[in-house]
């Protein structure tokens, strides 16, 4: 369970999130909103990349302010642009990076890398240079590199924005099949139909919190 308790986020004089209180218990939660509405800041709060100016975020009881390292092990984060999050030159090395940070033994790292490459059909790419991959392959690598760490929660910050339709569907399918809790910031409303809950952000506040059948039309009207 993720608890957002009276959270306000300011950057200088700018209030990006305004006194937010939410409890996230569903398996599939979408976050939508216009650019600058605070949704990416909200996503970064969930795994302690940003700590709130006021209030507290707790993941399974762990405070992101006081126990950020433990929280980051629980909450994986996939960024919008895979080019900015792939750390190592080769595919298999990048997937292993997070596992090395978790100080896992080498045989377990190798087994987990093999398993995630097989799961996403990327075995033949394991020795490929990351910069030679297509956009869709890079995003799948970024997702694999996070999922291999086996987090309990995964936050996706606009994971399909830079992709073509085929790769958007591939990423959407991968997210749908995840056993983990997923919080997805997205502009692709057509992929949100199966979500349990949609949060609509506007000027740093949640202006609609409902299942997709109600939240998506609300958001369309808001953006009209």
């Amino acid at each position: 369970m993720i608890e957002i308790d009276g959270v306000t986020q300011r950057f200088g004089d700018l209030t990006v999130l305004d006194l937010l209180t939410l409890t996230l218990t569903e398996r599939r939660i979408a976050v939508v909103g216009a650019n600058g509405s605070g949704k990416s800041t909200f996503a970064r709060l969930l795994n302690g990349l940003i700590v709130p100016t006021e209030g507290e975020v707790r993941v399974d009881g762990l405070s992101t302010s006081r126990e950020a390292r433990a929280v980051r092990r629980k909450v994986g984060f996939v960024f919008q642009n895979p080019d900015n999050q792939i750390v190592y030159p080769l595919v298999e090395e990048d997937i292993a990076f997070g596992l090395k940070n978790l100080k896992l033994p080498k045989p377990e790292i190798a087994a987990r890398v093999d398993a995630v490459l097989a799961r996403y059909g990327m075995e033949e790419l394991r020795q490929r240079s990351a910069h030679l991959l297509s956009g869709g392959q890079k995003q799948m690598l970024a997702i694999s590199s996070v999922l291999v760490m086996d987090p309990a929660y995964v936050v996706f910050d606009e994971p399909t924005t830079l992709l073509d339709l085929r790769n958007k569907r591939r990423v959407a399918r991968a997210i749908a099949e995840l056993p983990q809790v997923a919080v997805v910031v997205s502009h692709d409303l057509e992929f949100l139909a199966d979500f349990d809950r949609v949060l609509v952000f506007e000027d740093g506040r949640v202006v609609c919190d409902a299942p997709p059948a109600a939240a998506v039309p609300f958001y369309r009207d808001l953006m009209a």
Binding site: F79, Q85, Y88
Partner: protein, 199 residues
């Protein structure tokens, strides 16, 4: 680019990266410290023989060597022109040896293996505050992001060309700087998000 290791495996591929790096470092130190033509001749012979003994294909070896060979030839010519053929031979022997050995290393060793070997080699420096893991990560990031920055530069140059600013260095440098800094911020977040603690 930056992963130029040959895919056809030779016996030199199987030699541990740490051993190859050590040989390169020692050979480099010796050839730059000695003036003895017999010692230098021995190292030149070793450097010339190594690609042959390892059955490295000529094409990739030549592609790596030619730019350095042009530089060495220019330096040697300069010394000959000054009437000092001895120094010309010395410079050519020293640089040639190191470059040939470095080419043999990079064609038969994965970049990550070199970084890991370097990390292990730096372990004793922990006691003076050096973090081998940080040095390793830094080198890996450099290897990973050089081609990304090339691609970014090409993209910005193309965009500026479309706006008629083809020859304007400032118009390319400024957006490149801004995007590189933003990329560095994103990357720092991504590394933190993957449980990196610098240990």
């Amino acid at each position: 680019m930056f992963e130029i290791r040959l895919s056809r495996i030779t016996w030199l591929h199987r030699v541990p990266a740490g051993v190859k790096l050590l040989v390169l470092a020692l050979a480099g130190a010796v050839v730059f410290l000695t003036d003895d033509p017999r010692v230098l001749g021995g190292f030149v012979g070793f450097a010339l023989a190594l690609p042959l003994l390892a059955w490295l294909p000529f094409g990739p070896v030549l592609r790596q060597i030619i730019p350095a060979a042009i530089l060495i030839a220019a330096l040697a010519t300069f010394h000959v022109a000054l009437g000092d053929p001895g120094t010309a031979a010395l410079v050519a022997a020293r640089l040639g040896t190191v470059i040939l050995l470095a080419v043999a290393l990079t064609l038969t060793t994965r970049a990550s293996a070199m970084v890991e070997a370097l990390e292990r080699g730096l372990t004793p420096l922990r006691f003076v505050g050096v973090s081998p893991a940080k040095v390793g990560l830094m080198l890996s990031l450099a290897t990973r992001f050089i081609p990304v920055l090339f691609a970014l530069t090409a993209e910005i140059r193309e965009a500026q060309k479309a706006r008629g600013l083809e020859g304007n260095v400032f118009a390319v440098a400024m957006p490149l700087l801004v995007r590189t800094l933003r990329m560095a911020d994103d990357l720092a977040e991504a590394i933190a998000a993957r449980a990196y603690d610098g240990e």
